[in-house]
């Protein structure tokens, strides 16, 4: 089956997730789809597999236009997708999950499902217990089950979205072998990933996305340099900024361990001085956020110590961190930073002095007007924050920060913003260094990391590297480091 995606557009509010993507996929090929998080890969694949409609554009199967209203439509047409997080029913057994999606009468045909499951498992060397509840399976096994389910439904195109996240090395080898086998049998396999090594190992063709657009198509064998430059964009000249003398130690991290349900990073050591900017590099989900949350007092570390302004604050509640002059600016502005439904004025009233009973509206109004002018926010005091554009929401978040911070932690401070807004925001952030504020930030934009950091640390493979002098690292070198390859 030949799949042609023509001129696919999908916007989410101001975010252009897919901005005119065209792509052709032949059967019998393992097609890689490479790009950073947020490049639009998942959105495109969800459109192809019927989970969401495109705003504009056509999908052709063997030259015929198709419109999928649901994943079931897409499966009926032979296209199935394996999600980053398996979408099965955890309380059911493997067998029941398989039977659940099968066509047929109102009754579950367990015997037939069992035969199908066993045959497919044997073919690919999967060892799935049909009667085990899905909740007892590992991520890799659930993925195998989902693959078996799609194949039992007769799909001819199988899409895998970051399938190697959270699975073991033997499971990965088994998965790759199964995918090669499927493509040899004439199925089209679409492998979505941001990991260069995996794409190189598995794919025969790769399409690279960046900021919702196709930046290039490559045929195997792939040169890593080509992939890196297509993924992260061209290398620009560095932004020069005034060096400032560093002050005393603000943050000291000793042998810190942070963890989430799928990741643990141990042995983190870092010392940050007043006025210093530290960039946290790495693929998203490599532990940068965990470290930031720990430093902001929003998540208790699993081990080690955090010393702020000379005081051990490990395990202290969030207000203690606030009092020590720490602020965290999240990437999810409307989820974690601002309160949708409240106006700018109400935000500034809350962020100011809230002593007393009645709101001092004149004070809030004056502050709001001043901040709107100061931070070039396009909005009025009575504008609800959700009505602001992404860039203005970011400006509002920065305007809400207290003065004289000791440590400012920023998650993707310029994500989704155009270059002018980004430069402006960095200008304001770097000003804060002169008050002795230390800055910790993450970004997926390598240029931003190299340009604005004094030192860089790289998260990869469950570890954080020793700090590097940012002025001696190029964007390409950083790309290699992030992809888990040494210099």
């Amino acid at each position: 089956m030949k799949i042609e995606l023509e001129d696919i557009y999908k916007y989410f509010g101001p975010v252009r997730a897919n901005d005119g993507i065209s792509l052709t996929i032949e059967s019998g090929v393992i097609q890689g789809l490479l790009g950073e998080n947020g490049a639009g890969k998942t959105t495109l694949m969800k459109i192809l597999s019927g989970y969401q409609p495109a705003d504009r554009g056509t999908i052709l199967l063997d030259g015929r236009p198709v419109h999928f209203r649901s994943p079931a439509d897409a499966i009926a047409a032979g296209i199935g997708m394996l999600h980053q997080d398996p979408l099965d029913v955890p309380a059911f057994s493997a067998l029941e999950n398989l039977a659940l999606g099968s066509p047929g009468g109102p009754f579950l045909n367990r015997a037939r499902a069992r035969r199908t499951l066993e045959a497919l498992c044997q073919r690919f060397g999967f060892a799935l217990d049909p009667d085990a509840p899905v909740s007892s399976l590992t991520v890799g096994e659930r993925q195998q089950l989902e693959m078996v389910r799609l194949l039992a439904l007769g799909v001819r195109v199988i899409i895998l979205d970051e399938p190697t996240t959270g699975i073991s090395a033997p499971q990965k080898a088994l998965l790759f072998q199964a995918l090669r086998q499927l493509s040899a049998e004439g199925l089209a396999v679409i492998f979505v990933s941001h990991k260069l090594d995996e794409v190189r190992e598995l794919c025969s063709r790769v399409t690279v996305l960046r900021q919702g657009k196709v930046t290039g198509h490559l045929e195997a064998p792939f040169a890593t340099d080509d992939m890196v430059s297509l993924m992260f964009g061209q290398v620009l000249g560095k932004y020069t900024r005034r060096p400032i003398p560093l002050g005393g130690v603000i943050l000291q991290i000793e042998d810190l361990a942070v963890r989430s349900h799928r990741l643990e990073v141990r042995g983190i050591h870092l010392t940050v001085r007043a006025g210093e900017v530290i960039g946290l590099a790495g693929l998203e989900g490599s532990g940068q956020r965990l470290l930031m949350l720990a430093c902001a007092g929003l998540q208790k570390p699993h081990g080690g110590r955090i010393i702020l302004n000379g005081q051990d604050v490990t395990g202290q509640p969030y207000p203690t961190f606030l009092r020590q002059g720490v602020a965290f600016v999240p990437a999810a502005r409307l989820e974690e930073g601002l309160v949708p439904g409240l106006t700018l004025r109400e935000h500034f009233a809350l962020a100011g002095n809230t002593r007393g009973f009645f709101i001092r509206w004149e004070e809030a109004e004056a502050r709001t007007a001043q901040m709107i002018a100061d931070f070039n926010i396009i909005g009025r005091p009575d504008t609800p924050v959700e009505a602001l554009s992404g860039g203005n929401q970011q400006r509002a978040l920065l305007a809400l920060l207290p003065e004289n911070l000791r440590l400012l932690i920023l998650e993707h401070p310029t994500r989704g913003l155009d270059i002018a807004s980004s430069r402006w925001i960095w200008h304001r952030l770097l000003e804060r260094r002169e008050e002795g504020t230390a800055i910790l930030f993450t970004s997926t934009d390598l240029e931003e990391l190299v340009e604005y950091s004094d030192r860089l640390v790289v998260f990869s493979g469950g570890k954080m590297s020793a700090p590097l002098d940012a002025s001696r690292v190029t964007v390409e070198e950083l790309g290699y480091l992030i992809g888990g390859r040494g210099l």
Binding site: G38, L298, L322, L342, L350, T354, I359, W361
Partner: protein, 354 residues
């Protein structure tokens, strides 16, 4: 706004009323009754004489108090279904006071109000503690405590507060006259109750509009995570919201004992706690709409028993009217939001997710 947009808005506002009338009309036709005669009976039953109008005021008091309280918890994003229990707790505390203290009216009546506030506040606090520290959803915590409060009432009526000549479902012995709230003329309405309920609603309106606490509650209700990041203590403020809501509901319960029944009866809360949920939903969580909705609900409440007398219809038609209008209101709003809502991004979709 253009005339056309205005008309559409008016249509959307009136649609729930129209749909409710259509639905009840169908029910009445199926029951073989004349719908217009039924509506007429409800109206005349509610408004035919000043005494009836005073009855409407009597029904409005607990609804206003409970709705005022619930505006506070709703502002903080909490579904305080436990208002019913908080009302009962206020009634129990008041009865306990009356049973254990003999004093002139000038002493006991103000104290009874305080007892109602305190009883409800404690019950609300309990709900809040279970919610914030026990990790139990406030709907289940509240519902559970409603049953506890109701069982406690029965135990007290049939146990410690049993009348000397034997306990019955009609409740405790009447309170001594010193614990009777004075009534207006020959009606059943109490001026004190009416004033207290007005003060409560206006107070809540002021708090939610113009105080730091009200603003913090609204921030918590709309995005507790962001509110916390702004340095607002979510737990403490939620508990305070439960306490304030409980206190107002408790006052409602207390006034039901001292001003309406003049004793403790098994069903002292009378479903007003649940009804006020509907009031608050129908007023779109806005204090300024609450009096109108409460008035409508109370008029239906007072008028619908006439259906039984005159037309041999069950008076529960009143309940169907009340609930129907809320359902259709929520449905119409839901549809409107669906049409206008932008698509949401899912996690993993792109730049905003992490």
């Amino acid at each position: 706004m253009t005339w056309r947009a205005r008309l559409v808005r008016l249509g959307i506002a009136l649609a729930p009323i129209g749909l409710t009338l259509v639905m009840t009309m169908l029910i009445l036709l199926l029951a073989g009754a004349d719908p217009f005669e039924a509506y007429g009976n409800i109206l005349s039953g509610a408004f035919e004489n000043p005494k009836k109008i005073a009855d409407i005021a009597v029904a409005m008091v607990p609804l206003l108090l409970c709705s005022a309280g619930m505006l506070v918890t709703f502002a903080a994003g909490l579904w305080n279904i436990g208002v019913e229990g908080q009302m009962i707790a206020g009634a129990l505390m008041t009865t306990w006071l009356v049973e254990s203290l003999t004093a002139p009216a000038g002493v006991i009546l103000p104290l009874s109000v305080v007892a109602g506030l305190v009883g409800g506040a404690l019950w609300g606090l309990l709900t809040g503690l279970i919610r914030t520290y026990g990790g139990v959803n406030e709907i289940f915590a509240g519902l559970g405590l409603n049953f506890v409060a109701s069982a406690l009432t029965n135990y007290l009526i049939f146990g410690p507060w049993r009348p000397p000549d034997g306990a019955t479902m009609s409740g405790t012995d009447p309170f001594p006259p010193s614990a009777w709230m004075p009534l207006i003329g020959q009606t059943r309405a109490s001026l004190v109750s009416i004033l207290l309920s007005i003060i409560a609603l206006v107070g809540v309106w002021l708090v939610l509009r113009g105080t730091y606490w009200g603003l913090k509650l609204r921030a918590i209700g709309r995005n507790s995570r962001a509110a916390q990041r702004l340095g607002i203590s979510t737990h403490r403020n939620m508990l305070l919201a439960f306490i304030v809501c409980g206190a107002l509901a408790g006052l409602a319960g207390s006034l039901q004992t001292t001003a309406v029944y003049r004793r403790l009866i098994p069903q002292i809360s009378g479903g007003y706690g649940y009804l006020s949920q509907l009031v608050v939903l129908l007023s779109g969580l806005r204090a300024e709409w609450v009096p109108l909705v409460v008035f409508f609900f109370s008029a239906v409440q007072v008028g619908s028993p006439r259906l039984e007398l005159r037309m041999q219809l069950d008076s529960s038609l009143g309940g169907i009217l009340q609930a129907g209008i809320v359902l259709f209101f929520l449905l119409v709003r839901g549809f409107r939001e669906r049409w206008h809502a932008p698509e949401k991004m899912e996690e993993g979709d792109g730049p905003i997710a992490y």
